[in-house]
């Protein structure tokens, strides 16, 4: 317990130092706080519900053998898409500097999506061959 209190105290001090830095050095505090709040709202109110809806509404409607592959690939592609927003949007691209953001990012992203779909397909076939069937037989048409 003493160790935990000490660790906690170190954390509180580090956090307070950060808060002090924010108040002292950032004269543009309001947009910073808006970004912080916006980030939380965007995650808790949009991204997380979307992921849950996908898990609850979409996955169970897929053929049984495709569910695991689809869930895994959706996680990988979904997270890629989240962190790739700035490059896909070309945020920061400027005419005077062709060396920045100098790829066709939609092509790269599309390539990853195609590769992901191929993985789902092959993995599903392999699962079917291995005899993976819905044990509850709730969806009987997955073969």
């Amino acid at each position: 317990m003493t160790a935990r209190l000490l660790i906690g105290a170190v954390g509180v001090l580090a956090g307070l130092y950060g808060a002090l830095l924010l108040l002292e050095r950032t004269d543009d505090l309001v947009p910073v706080l808006l970004w912080v709040a916006g980030g939380v709202v965007l995650h808790d109110g949009v991204l997380a519900p979307l992921a849950l809806l996908l898990a609850v509404l979409v996955l169970p409607r897929l053929p049984y053998a495709a569910r695991t592959p689809a869930a895994a690939v959706a996680l990988v592609l979904g997270s890629v898409t989240v962190w790739a927003v700035p490059v896909l949007g070309g945020w920061g691209r400027r005419e005077d500097n062709p060396t920045l953001l100098d790829r066709d990012y939609w092509l790269g992203w599309g390539g990853l999506v195609v590769a992901g779909l191929a993985v789902v397909l092959v993995w599903t076939v392999l699962r079917l061959r291995a005899g993976e069937r819905d044990r509850d037989a709730a969806t009987g048409e997955d073969a």
Binding site: G11, W35, G39, V80
Partner: protein
């Protein structure tokens, strides 16, 4: 849960057995390590950019900043899937019912506040980092906000670990499929097993590395389809700020350009031809930017220490470097004594065998080992020995 059933969910509505401390603590461990890597490499970068640090920033190894900042940015990308999965596993707690008794309620509210700070700061750090890498600037000053946010995030993380330590130890000490620590409702088998989720998260992290690290690891360039740079550019080198963006067109390429060396009231004025007539040295050094991209190049120019001997720079004196640039925060930089005195530090006139491109800092630029790119000042017009 059906679509018609529209109400705020309760914690026990979430029945997947993936919502378990067994999963959260494992992903949390990877995420904690990744955050620590980002924090420490971020401190290194902050140190490297501090004008007058207590401990001088070392000049060796020459690839040091290239490594730490590349690691900082790639680890930041890795944090995205880790954070998303971590938050997803604990998402039901957002809807947990607070206890009634006052002491327990106070503790719960304190913990929730600390989690709120942790989540807010974490998302903020990743979001600001991701957009800064593409040079898209939010409506606030990036560096101080990202630096303050780092301390808040790491502080809240340490508090979180202290609070959760017994759960973390219990969870990590058991098999991942053990259910002893689970909520009684969290028993539903989903599309992914716990091991499947952990492996998939690892794959998502690996994809983030492969898809972005080519901006700093040359042999990954062809694989890194989402990296911010291909590594191509004039003279085989990318450009961070162009001559046009820096507002030096017409100044840097003016025929009457001169470099002025200043020390204690003495001034020595040199043309570019004068600089070319001095002994030239060749060094292979990387340009390593705060945005995480880097590229190595062979630079030719005058050794900084030899050049400043013309105005009798005393040993140990820093040098203020002034650029022609009329826009941007780094028109004036300080080249600390240890960099001035390192033989590899050049006032470069050529790169990869060609006269510097205007976008690479023609007529001359600073190139020093183990330095952030923003401090490798281009279009240099004045070197003042600090006294």
């Amino acid at each position: 849960m059906s679509p018609a059933d529209v109400r705020v969910p309760r914690e026990d509505d979430f029945t997947s057995r993936l919502h378990s401390p067994a999963v959260a603590s494992r992903v949390g461990l990877w995420l904690g390590i990744s955050f620590a890597v980002c924090f420490l490499t971020g401190l290194v970068s902050h140190w490297a950019q501090t004008t007058d640090p207590l401990v001088p920033f070392p000049t060796s190894p020459a690839w040091g900043y290239r490594f730490t900042q590349g690691l900082h940015v790639v680890t930041g990308y890795v944090c995205v899937p880790l954070l998303l999965v971590k938050l997803w596993t604990v998402y039901p707690k957002l809807f947990g019912r607070p206890p009634r008794a006052l002491p327990a309620l106070t503790l719960e509210l304190l913990e929730r506040a600390s989690i709120g700070v942790l989540v807010g700061a974490s998302v903020f750090q990743l979001a600001t980092g991701l957009v800064n890498v593409t040079q898209w600037y939010p409506p606030f000053s990036f560096r101080p906000a990202h630096y303050a946010g780092a301390w808040i995030a790491i502080g809240a993380l340490v508090v979180h670990v202290a609070v959760k330590l017994p759960t973390i130890r219990a969870a990590l000490g058991r098999d991942v499929d053990d259910t002893a620590l689970d909520r009684p409702e969290a028993v539903a088998e989903g599309s992914l097993s716990r091991r499947g989720l952990l492996r998939t998260t690892g794959v998502a992290a690996g994809v983030a590395v492969l898809a972005t690290a080519g901006a700093t690891v040359p042999w990954l360039r062809r694989v890194s389809v989402l990296a911010v740079r291909t590594g191509e550019g004039p003279q085989g080198l990318p450009v961070n700020r162009s001559a046009q963006a820096a507002g030096v067109l017409g100044l840097a390429d003016a025929p009457d350009y001169t470099l002025v060396l200043v020390h204690a009231g003495r001034e020595v004025t040199l043309t570019r031809d004068d600089l070319l007539a001095l002994p030239q040295h060749e060094e292979t050094l990387p340009i390593a930017c705060v945005e995480g991209w880097s590229a190595s190049a062979t630079w030719t120019g005058v050794r900084m220490v030899d050049l400043l001997a013309q105005v009798d720079r005393p040993s140990g004196a820093d040098v203020v470097v002034r650029s022609l640039q009329t826009r941007g925060a780094f028109a004036t930089t300080t080249l600390q004594a240890q960099f001035v005195e390192d033989d590899r530090t050049l006032l470069a006139l050529a790169v990869n065998g060609e006269t510097l491109d205007l976008d690479h800092g023609f007529p001359c630029r600073v190139i020093a080992p183990n330095r952030p790119g923003v401090l490798q000042t281009k279009w240099v017009t004045r070197l003042e020995v600090a006294t």
